[in-house]
């Protein structure tokens, strides 16, 4: 009995998501649609339809990497809300590397473009990291505000120095075909960025668990004073965690350019950096769980369009549902088993059983 309750408790995030979806069905009813049909359309299209799943994977790549970009600094106790800006700067660096490096064989040129993207994101995040480590400035504010700087920097570049001549809209020239990422589910648009993200998530999860590098970051996040006492250079760890987070977001930007858009567009990201915060949150900053949370959110996003066509409800309802998911998950994380009514009831049960058992012993 107790075990069952504990198992149910361990999966509380899942229960929270289901409860949020149940509440969401009220929204569908208000909008005049059958919620069951709507959910079947939403998730059926997103996960069980070939083209729909392709569309999910297209969104999965940036959402996953942005989720990692938030979850990794969180391990060091840093809240990176600037993944969006880092995506933009990463995309900018990547585009410059793709368009302006002298001719190289794609086998050399493509990795350079990807690295340039990671570098751009890392540098952008390191501004906040450096200010945090050496000046004690709140990283939440710096990363948040640098988002707008990053977004507008790209708008300027795409509408100015990088703009293709005669283009009707701010965008750059197309990157050479040799630099396009391979497709993984042709003929859909799903590209190798999704796979790279999953591999990175697993590698990072192992890195945090099994290496002294990860241990140092975790220790800083757990207790910075003890970390200093342990001989860890706390400032360096802050730089590593922020830089690495930014690099992941920068990769998301690079993969958007090289795998999907092939040009640097003004305002190209649909808020993936902010989705990353939601993903890190749902996964409770567990790096290995980030891909699962990202897949769920990408599915919601991709399925929304298809659902709109299938049941005739505005896709913005899905945004509201996403909001409900965040609220329910937050509420579920706030409850600790031992403090919950169930936990107390179970403790009481244990105490009673122990009492009965001890009496039996005495009688026996």
């Amino acid at each position: 009995m107790e075990r069952l309750v504990q198992i149910a408790y361990a999966g509380r995030t899942i229960w929270a998501v289901l409860a949020a979806l149940a509440c969401g069905s009220i929204l569908f009813l208000i909008a005049g649609a059958d919620p069951i049909k709507a959910y079947i359309a939403l998730f059926g299209e997103a996960f069980f339809d070939f083209f729909g799943f392709g569309a999910t994977l297209v969104k999965f790549s940036p959402i996953l990497l942005a989720g990692l970009a938030v979850a990794l600094p969180l391990k060091a106790g840093l809240f990176n809300v600037g993944a969006e800006g880092q995506i933009y700067v990463g995309a900018l660096f990547c585009t410059i590397a793709a368009l302006f490096l002298p001719f190289l064989h794609p086998i050399i040129h493509l990795p350079l473009c990807i690295l340039a993207g990671a570098l751009g994101g890392a540098l952008w995040a390191l501004i906040a990291g450096w200010l945090k480590a050496y000046r004690g400035i709140n990283e939440v504010i710096v990363t948040l505000l640098l988002n707008y700087v990053g977004i507008n920097l790209v708008s300027y570049a795409a509408g100015g120095p990088l703009m293709e001549e005669g283009a009707p809209y701010p965008y750059s020239a197309e990157v050479p075909e040799g630099l396009h990422l391979p497709y993984i589910l042709p003929p859909t648009d799903a590209h190798a960025g999704a796979l790279a993200g999953v591999v990175l998530a697993l590698v990072l999860a192992l890195l945090m668990r099994y290496t002294s590098f990860g241990f140092a970051i975790l220790t800083v996040g757990n207790n910075a004073q003890a970390a200093r006492y342990a001989g860890i250079n706390v400032e360096h760890q802050i730089l590593y965690a922020m830089g690495l987070g930014g690099a992941l977001a920068g990769l998301a930007g690079a993969f958007e350019i090289l795998g999907l858009k092939y040009r640097l567009f003004h305002m190209f990201s649909a808020g993936y950096g902010f989705d990353g915060i939601v993903v890190a949150f749902i996964a409770s900053a567990n790096l290995a769980l980030v891909p699962i949370a990202a897949l769920f959110l990408a599915g919601l996003r991709a399925g929304a369009q298809l659902m709109q066509r299938a049941v005739g409800v505005d896709s913005t309802i899905v945004d509201a549902i996403q909001g409900l998911v965040v609220m329910f998950v937050a509420a579920s994380l706030a409850v600790r088993f031992a403090d919950s009514r169930w936990g107390k009831a179970m403790a009481q049960r244990r105490a009673n059983e122990a009492l009965v058992a001890s009496k039996e012993l005495k009688h026996g």
């Binding site: 002294s212 241990f215 220790t219 757990n222 207790n223 004073q225 003890a226 006492y229 342990a230 001989g231």
Partner: protein, 504 residues
């Protein structure tokens, strides 16, 4: 008849008996000092008098009438006000706003000009002048304390309780504060103040209650006593324990500090031109009243706090430019005062905490990869050797008792085979068995030729094992005595600065 009577008050927290059968008699208009070591129950008693805790047993009388306090609001109604050790002020508000805050006038608008005038008048009446329009964050600690006192007086308190009021003040501010107390007394207020500084008691108090281990050990007139007598009553008799004191030939000088200066978190020189050495095969005890620079001294030796000036050398070589890790590798072990906040990561397992200071070196890790099996295996060995009682090495340190947590720290620092061990508050919060274990371990280490600097506020524990005892007072060494000459009285004088004149 006494104005305020505390009669047979007892209070326990779980299994811990904080107060047992405490009696206290305070006359109207007297300054009554409550003297005692850390953990003697002074603050608990005052919190009961302020309505923060309810006693398990006993009663209180004010002016002959029974006093039942279920909250601080009750206490304030009966004219009792408390000034906490850590100020309860809103730093961004100004003085008047802080004082008026919570007066509870409902929806009526507040006439700040009138309040300001009253506060100004009250300030000059009691010698507590402070600019009522100054934002609190701009004020030095001494003035913030005045605001706290004014806050209480503004609520018409007759009885003022001050919890270690001088511990946050700079030396220059203390005299002004003590003068203020006498002025308040002349204005007819009754003052209870908690302290462990003997000189303050001698300066201003009329009566003194000495507390020890949750009991009142004596209540006496301040004029009829001496610091020496008070120190003896405060520290009391030693607890009889089986510590095998042994001594050996003292070896070379291992750790040397010359004219060391270090700042505390507020930027005040907490360690002030301190000179000290520790030799191989000796335990050098360093005692003193809490807050005289011990924490900062430990941290500056370990490399956790910057050295402002002076020199720190290990075996003759300067180390003050080296990092924490480099000093550790030179054989400097350090057991910090703050066990849970610094020495351990509470949400890590025992095994992980055992390698906290060596995680990036073999055997814990090789080429950056942690050897988790080896870490768990070594932890099991250390747990047996140091008698850490836990279910498994994977148990989180958070769920261990204080004694077992301390053993984890000791096991780690000793297993690192230090040449020098700086250990702070080694026995704090431990039960008798654990204390015996820790003390005997220290003696064994000394016999093995390790240089030990034993920093503690628990005098009796220092005296049990030390070969030499130094006293730290206001950041410098007030005196050093060989163990044979170190008795409670002499140390007590040094600890409170009373001996400074005699020595000079």
């Amino acid at each position: 008849m006494s104005y305020l009577v505390i009669d047979g008050i007892s209070k326990s927290f779980g299994a811990f008996q904080a107060l047992s059968e405490v009696d206290l008699h305070v006359g109207r208009g007297e300054i009554h000092a409550i003297l005692g070591e850390n953990g003697a129950g002074k603050t608990t008693l005052m919190n009961i008098l302020y309505g923060l805790y309810q006693p398990d047993k006993g009663r209180m009388l004010l002016n002959g009438e029974p006093l039942h306090l279920s909250s601080p609001a009750d206490a304030i109604k009966r004219g009792i006000g408390m000034i906490h050790q850590h100020f309860m002020l809103v730093n961004s508000l100004n003085v008047t706003e802080n004082i008026v805050l919570g007066l509870g006038q409902g929806l009526k608008s507040i006439d700040f000009t009138r309040h300001e005038a009253r506060i100004r008048a009250m300030g000059s009446e009691f010698g507590l002048e402070v600019d009522p329009s100054a934002p609190v964050w701009t004020l030095p600690m001494g003035l913030r304390q005045r605001v706290e006192i004014l806050k209480v007086l503004y609520r018409n308190a007759e009885i003022l309780i001050l919890d270690e009021p001088t511990s946050v003040l700079a030396p220059g501010e203390i005299d002004a504060f003590l003068e203020g107390l006498t002025k308040l007394q002349k204005a007819g207020h009754t003052i209870l103040f908690i302290t462990h500084k003997l000189e303050e008691v001698m300066k201003v108090a009329n009566r003194v209650t000495v507390m020890r281990q949750g009991r009142v050990s004596d209540e006496l007139d301040a004029s009829g006593t001496s610091p020496r007598e008070l120190a003896r009553k405060m520290v009391g008799r030693d607890v009889a324990m089986r510590i095998s004191r042994r001594s050996r030939r003292i070896g070379d000088r291992r750790l040397q500090l010359e004219e060391v200066v270090a700042l505390d978190d507020r930027g005040v020189a907490a360690v002030d031109k301190l000179t000290l050495d520790v030799c191989a095969g000796e335990i050098h005890g360093l005692c003193g009243v809490d807050g005289n620079g011990q924490r900062e001294l430990g941290e500056v030796i370990a490399g956790l706090r910057p050295l402002v000036s002076g020199a720190i050398s290990i075996e003759g070589a300067r180390v003050d430019g080296l990092s924490v890790k480099e000093r550790k590798h030179l054989g400097l072990g350090f057991v910090p005062e703050d066990r849970q906040g610094t020495a351990l990561v509470l949400d890590y397992s025992i095994a992980t905490n055992m390698v906290l200071r060596d995680f990036n070196r073999p055997p814990a890790s090789r080429r950056g990869i942690l050897d988790l099996r080896r870490i768990a295996h070594d932890a099991t060995r250390l747990m047996q050797r140091y008698d850490v009682r836990a279910r498994s090495p994977q148990q989180l340190v958070r769920f261990l008792s204080g004694g077992n947590q301390q053993k984890v720290v000791l096991a780690r620092e000793i297993d690192g085979q230090p040449n020098i061990l700086v250990i702070m508050q080694a026995c704090k919060g431990l039960d008798v068995g654990a204390i015996e274990f820790v003390q005997n371990t220290l003696v064994d280490l000394k016999m093995a030729g390790i240089a030990i600097l034993y920093i503690s506020t628990e005098l009796e524990h220092v005296l049990e094992v030390a070969d030499r005892v130094s006293v730290i007072f206001r950041g410098h060494i007030a005196g050093t005595l060989p163990i044979a000459e170190a008795d409670n009285a002499r140390l007590g004088e040094l600890m409170t600065g009373a001996g400074a004149d005699a020595a000079a």
